[in-house]
Amino acid sequence: MVKPSRSIARRFVLRQLALGLGTAWTPWVGAQAPPKGPVALKPIPSTGEMLPVVGLGTWITFNVGNDRAARDACADVMKAFFEAGGRMIDSSPMYGSSQPVVGHGLARLGLAARVFAADKVWTSSGARGPGQVEESRRHWNIARFDLLQVHNLLGWEEQLPMLFSMKQAGRLRYVGITTSEGRRHREIEDVMRRHPLDFVQVTYNLLDREVEQRILPLARERGIAVIANRPFREGALLRDLQRHRLPAWAAEVDCASWAQVALKFIVSHPALACAIPATSSVGHVRENMAAATGRMPDAALRQRIAAHVDAL
């Protein structure tokens, strides 16, 4: 296991405070709620570096090809994301043109230094891994990635040693693995137990809660930060929820929409580092980032939220 670096952690907390981006994580309890404030941050267990609890995914939404207007619209989404205090953007070589679109946005905004760049390696060929990582880096147009993950465990036996050696050489800060929609959880657990991972990315949302049983407790035990993908089930979850009235308790945790309830439910789990909703809408990214502010549900309210959604 990689030991936490206190100096790095301190440096990042200070940097966040200097940027006015956030306060340390506090799971606010129901009625004793303070007003909405800065974006909530949580520590990456392996270093203590603080990260905003809401990030930005790019699956589908940023795959807009060579459409100049759509690329600029994605840059506008990124601008709103950063303005609201966001940092982690997550992409993959599997996401079509998403990587160059992120690179276009970073270049246009001049915010390459601000982003927490999370990407993936997605090839079963060990020999192709380094070349793919370099190609991804060129698309993003950044000096190095903060986090690289083995996408859907594809060829992890060969890719993980490559990523760990990059980290050791200072060309990468964090290493992780991903899966989605409940696939290969046994294998994920096995890799989590046997390798000094910094991050694991899994599907976790109001309906897909299987990871609560084993993976999230294991992540806490092993000091691995968890990223939640598919927080809205690619929008399907919200389309279903929006047919129902927002319950009164939503106001107790400063939620004005089902999207915010869904995100606060996820990021308030003690093992979660952040959720990465994807969107192509400036309005939605602001709404998502607002879920990273204000009061958060405690354990009792989290149970109530889950039970309420199960009953709908």
């Binding site: 090809g65 599997m94 996401y95 079509g96 290969r184 192509s280």
Partner: protein, 235 residues
């Protein structure tokens, strides 16, 4: 791929419907006025096919060669230059379209040896499918609230090109064909049919209302072709 049974069709859709429709809008704008010229050319070809009940060997060969050029053009200009930017399978689709162009050229050369009138059902359905692909398909989006700027035009976009090709193949598959010509024409069927299935699946995953259209029309084309072939053998 492990646990393949857990994947849904929508899991393979890596772009939004909006991005997909914008492809055609940008494609048409970049090629303007080629989409109009292609539409007029298709309509003229339809008139010729309508009026000539008897397609000469030379006319058949020419039609298949022009069709081959359309497939090659769509392979390069649409599949490779445009679609590949949002779909990692784009280069494979381009290769398949280029291969179809070769198969159509081969079928055109083989057809030089034969010509006779096709059975009535084959001709009627062939003309119908070709007319639908050329005349109706570009306007289809209007029914579903999409602008004409996103029109999919025969010879420019893959769907109407594949559908129109099935129509032409029905028109050019003739009972008196030499066995070489029949085999060459038969080889030109699978790729347009596969494309109708792939595109239908893509549209289905995007929840597009017209998703069943291409697979259903392709199935009709196959049914008609099989029946025509049986009728020819019986005759």
């Amino acid at each position: 791929m492990t646990e393949w049974w857990t994947y849904r069709l929508s899991d393979f859709l890596m772009f939004s419907a909006r991005t997909y429709r914008r492809l055609f809008e940008l494609h048409n704008a970049d090629l303007w006025p080629l989409p109009v010229i292609a539409g007029i050319g298709g309509a003229l070809a339809l008139v010729v096919a309508w009026r000539r009940r008897h397609l000469s060997a030379r006319a058949t060969s020419m039609a298949l060669t022009v069709l081959a050029a359309a497939w090659l053009w769509v392979a390069w200009a649409f599949q490779l230059q445009r679609y590949a930017a949002i779909n990692t399978a784009g280069p494979w689709f381009a290769a398949a379209f280029a291969l179809e162009a070769l198969l159509l050229v081969a079928a055109g050369l083989a057809s030089l040896r034969s010509s006779s009138e096709p059975p009535a059902s084959g001709r009627r359905w062939g003309l119908g499918l070709f007319a639908f692909a050329v005349l109706a398909y570009p306007w289809l989006g209007l029914l579903f609230g999409r602008p004409l700027s996103q029109a999919e035009v025969f010879g420019i976009a893959p769907d109407p090109t594949a559908l129109g090709t099935l129509g032409v193949l029905l028109l050019t598959s003739q009972p008196g064909d030499a066995i070489v010509a029949r085999r060459a024409l038969a080889l030109a069927w699978p790729i347009p049919l596969l494309w109708c299935a792939v595109s239908g699946a893509t549209l289905w995953a995007m929840e597009a209302p017209e998703a069943p259209l291409l697979p259903v029309l392709a199935a009709i084309a196959v049914t008609v072709a099989v029946r025509s072939s049986r009728a020819n053998r019986a005759a």
